[in-house]
């Protein structure tokens, strides 16, 4: 397992995304890389922008695991409790001119991954995403 720790994350989302994408587990994920790249951006942007409204003691831990079939990424932050799986999804049947902007990133995450789970434990949001990878 690869563990990454980031602190003072506000304004550093792009650098954090870059660091995650350059781990060996992600960089060599083959055809799954595109979906993982997208999902990592959506999640890290959300956490960096919204998890710590007061901006104090902000951190993000990312654990990355690979086996022959799946790559799993676990995001831990100590920000305000937020369960992305309990949010009302955006109404994607509306024409573009009636659309609201919010919620699209989480929708992409949920649809692109094979599994997404959330728990709030020990004062942390723990979001785990899992994607099937091709046998390399």
């Amino acid at each position: 397992m690869n563990r990454l720790h980031f602190h003072s994350i506000r304004g550093k989302a792009l650098a954090i995304v870059d660091a995650i994408l350059h781990t060996e587990e992600v960089a060599t994920a083959g055809e799954a890389f595109g979906a993982i790249r997208l999902v990592v951006e959506e999640l890290v942007m959300n956490i960096a922008d919204y998890a710590y409204p007061d901006g104090y003691n902000d951190y993000l831990d990312v654990e990355i695991e690979r086996d022959e079939t799946y790559i799993t990424l676990r995001f831990r932050d100590g920000g305000v409790p937020f369960n992305p799986l309990e949010q009302t999804p955006p109404d994607i049947s509306l024409p573009m001119e009636e659309r609201r902007i919010g919620g699209l990133g989480l929708l992409i995450v949920i649809k692109m991954m094979d599994a997404v789970t959330y728990e709030y434990t020990d004062g942390e949001n723990v979001l785990t995403v899992k994607s099937k990878i091709e046998n390399l």
Partner: protein
């Protein structure tokens, strides 16, 4: 990331030639470049996505912005859209509202 897109206006058609990605790293810069066209009468916004491989929600917001905020409620056109980008547009439910062209 350097500027990896090009915006040009010919008559009432605004063409946006995109690079490899339209995501958090470059979407704000493109949004800024589109602002001056807000009050101009645009009938079509043509996104040339020949090189585009990554479209995130930051990029999707730009597409919605063009439809909602540009004067004239322009038709949104995607040229040479690849499958990965199409998958994202499908997830966010925009495919029925976009004209897809292959050139």
């Amino acid at each position: 990331m350097g500027k990896d897109f090009e915006v040009r206006k010919e008559g009432s058609v605004l063409t946006v030639v995109l690079g490899n990605e339209l995501a958090a790293a470059n979407a704000p810069a493109l949004m800024e470049e589109l602002m001056p066209y807000k009050d101009q009468d645009i009938e079509r916004v043509v996104f040339d996505t020949t090189k585009l491989t990554l479209l995130s929600s930051s990029g999707v917001r730009i597409i919605i912005y063009c439809r909602q905020k540009l004067s004239g409620r322009p038709e949104i056109v995607f040229v040479n859209c690849n499958k990965g980008v199409l998958d994202v547009l499908d997830i966010v439910g925009l495919c029925p509202f976009i004209t897809f062209e292959t050139r």
